[in-house]
Each structure stands twice: as C-alpha cells, then as structure tokens.
Symmetry: C2
C-alpha cells in the first residue's frame, strides 16, 4: 500500500528499489513481486505505466498516462459540458471558469496533456496569466517539472524582466507580456499550455518571448481552439477540443474533439 | 493497491464499500480488512486519516492530513529556502515564483492549508490573481472543492461581474477587483488563500467583495506575512511563515514560523 502511495506522489522519478527495501524492511525479491502487482493494477485501471530500470543505478519510475478509452470518454463528457448554451459570452467566447476551477477536472486535463507530451523531455511548463495557470500546474505535476507564468503587464516586481510586445491575433491590439529573467534558465525545453486559442497571438507571443531565453518549445497544448480562423499564427500545437460553431443569436455551441484525437 | 489509488484520487469523498466490493469482486469483510491495513499505513506515513462511516449510507472517506512533525519539518525547510539573500526584491518583497512554481512544494503547502481548515466545511477556495492561484488549487484539491479567482481589473469577459474598489494597505493606492456573478453561488462558505500579506489590503478587499455574494469567510490562509505592519486590515488569518526582518542593504532576510504554528 505504501509503495502505491509513494509512487503516485512521485511521478516521473526514478526510485531505487533500495529505498523501498530499507523503508519497509523487506527483501528485494518481495519488493519486485509487489511492484509487478502494482504495475498490473496501474495498467488495468489506466493510472499509468511502471517502468523498471535494471542495474545498480536502476529502480522504478511511475509514468502517469491516460489510456485512449479514458481520454476519449473524458473529453466527450467535457465537450457535452462545454456545449451548454449558458456558457456563451459576448465575442464568441465561452465561460469556462467553472471547469478551470474544478480540481478533479483539471487533474484529468493535466494528465491528458502529460500523456500527449510524455516523450518530449519537457523541463518547464509555461503559460500566461490568468486562466491557463491551473492547467499548467495540473500538467506540470504529472510531468514533475516546474511552472513559469508569463505576466500580461510589465509592472512585475521580480527583478529584471524581459518584456515583448505582441499583437493579439483576434483583436489586433498591441499588448505586452513579461517574464522575470531569473524565472527561466536559458536553453530550457518548454511546453506551452493555455486554455483557449483563437488566432494564436498569445501563444505566438510566448514563443517569441522564449527566444529571448534561448529556450526550445517542445510542444504546445490548448484546451479549446476555435475552428473559424483565417490565419493561424502558430503551426504546431495540439488541442483537446475544437469550437466549431457559435450561434450567438440561437444560443447554440458546437464542439468536436481536437487535433490530439483526430491527428493520431 | 487499487483501493489506495482510488482513495488518494478522491479525497474528502464518502465512498460506499459496495463500490470496492463490486469493482474488485471481493467480500465486504475482506474489503474492511484491506481498509484497516491502508488506514494504518496512511496514519503511520502521515498521508492522512481514513474515516469509516457505518450503516447503509456509510462508507469510507480519506481526509488528507499532515501531521505536526511533517508540517514543522516542511516549513523549516521552506523557511531556510526563503531566507536566501538573492530573493530580496525592491520594496522588501521576496522573490517566491520559483517556490510557487514547484508542484511538489505546492502540494505540501496545499496539504498544510487543507489540514488547517479541515473542520471549517469549506465549500470554495478563493484567491486573487496571479501568484496565489497555484496555492489555491493545491489547497482545493485536498479539500475537494472548486476554486474561484478574483481578477485585478474589471475588463473581465465573463458576463455580469461584481467589482469593488479597495485600498492597497501598503501602497495606499486605490485598486479594483472583480468577480463574475456566476462564479460564486450566494451564501457559499469560502476559504481565502494568498501567497503574501503585508497590511492585508488585498485580503480585506476579497472579504468585502464576498459580502456582495452573501458569502461566509470561514478562514484565511497566507503563506508568508510580514511582521512590521503598523495596522493590519484583517483580523483572523493564519500564516505559515512570518517575514521578520529584511535588511535590504545587508541582504539579510529573516523568517520564522507563522501563526499556524505559534498559536496552536
């Protein structure tokens, strides 16, 4: 039982078997036996994968992963939830704060993003304030990496900051985003996460800002993208859902599964 | 193993034993036996408490709780980390974004707040953008309640919003904070969480805003409070650490354990 708890609390961490044998005073062989039971349970319940690394520097690593059936089931439920007409906001936006405020839902979305980018050697998850923040944390906990948050102003009291101007793709207004110099080590491998993408100006801004830090963007995941965009400012990204049609007068919202599901 | 994982993933939720017996096809007696083993492990490892409710409507509930030794050990480590001179920012603030960006650390702080307010029947955790957001989520996941985020402007595109002006206690400037009307059901029991408190103007603003929603503030938790405040605008709160002395010239920072530890 302890081992299950310990593994879940330390995702993406190589844990030497000696830690368990010392902690619980059992032989390594019985530890291995217990681990194979946990491994099977994790896989059948869709909790994730247990990876065993042999040798003196080896151990066991829990890699959180959602299987396809779980991912599909969850997203279909979420889309149904998102299609409720009362979510419609002026400008064709959707009210999503209740979803982004629900830890249980966020956990699932975070696990989905972590599954999508598990092979990208992500070192840092980045987002811009405000609504993307919980998504970034949920994702980062499963990837076991830190989060950095880009601010939408340059009144940041965090020492020396790097600021850039960017053009919001949909409103065409010039805006500012900033990140403290010390928030991000140079040459980091960064995953960008956000809740909503129209033309992609905000994500584009983050990509440009990351160049100032000599960082590599290893992926970009958005929860919902809109379908009717004449010119997308970002090329490579995955979305979990796509907002197809918003009929503001008729109060109709139509979403479908995003590129993560359709491009596989 | 499955039961451990399920319980950890569903904190503060009454789970009928029939769920386990149906899921795993075991007799209720063997389920109870397994639960008492898990209960003991949870308590000895400081994971939390398993509460069993008897009767037809009964079941088992996992209540995440940090024991005193864990809480103290964690905070002492955190304080040491916070006292590094390079954290000093103009105005006597501390750079804490790295700490607030670390999911493993946040998890611990969230569990600490959840432990402190476990008896308060918290229905919603509230914070104000930006830095308090991860703390609020970490706390809310352990309490199994939603989060609402107050915005620092009134350009919120979330339908009808309630805005108030408040005076920042330290800078004495008039500022605005807003919350969408639909974000918070009336008469909610709200826990306020924030990362840093000087005079408490921001927290005071949130308390005033909550009055507009006929909400009850059941508690307030801040990670770090400053000690040298002539007039505190908030009476009831707990802090995890107290910033005693900042010597900007000598680059010395001195913290001690906050009221959560000293007032018990």
């Amino acid at each position: 039982m302890d081992m299950t708890q310990y593994l879940l609390a330390h995702p993406q961490t190589l844990i030497p078997l000696t830690l368990f044998s010392e902690e619980y005073g059992s032989a390594k062989s019985s530890i291995s036996e217990d681990l194979s039971i946990i491994k099977e349970a994790f896989e059948s319940q869709g909790v994730g994968v247990l990876k065993t690394v042999a040798g003196a520097a080896g151990g066991v690593k829990y890699i959180p992963q959602m299987n396809e059936a779980q991912a599909l089931g969850f997203m279909q439920m979420l889309i149904e939830h998102l299609e409720k007409p009362e979510r419609l906001l002026p400008g064709g936006y959707l009210y999503m704060s209740d979803i982004l405020g629900n830890p249980a839902t966020l956990t699932q979305i975070g696990k989905l993003f972590a599954t999508a980018f598990v092979d990208k050697d992500v070192e840092i998850v980045m987002t811009v304030e405000t609504k993307g923040i919980p998504l970034a944390y949920a994702t980062a906990s499963y990837l076991n990496v830190p989060v950095v948050i880009v601010r939408r102003d340059n009144k940041v009291t965090e020492g020396s900051v790097v600021s850039i101007n960017y053009v919001s793709g949909s409103s065409k207004r010039i805006q500012t985003m900033s990140l403290a110099r010390r928030a991000l080590p140079e040459h980091s491998r960064v995953l960008i996460v956000d809740d909503f993408m129209k033309a992609g100006g905000t994500v584009r801004g983050m990509i440009d800002l990351l160049q100032e830090f000599q960082a590599t963007v290893v992926g970009c995941g958005v929860m919902v993208e809109t379908a009717d965009v004449s010119e997308r400012l970002v090329d490579e990204y995955i979305s979990l859902a796509k907002l197809n049609d918003v009929d503001v007068k008729g109060k109709q919202i139509e979403l479908e599964l995003g590129s993560y599901f359709t491009k596989q």
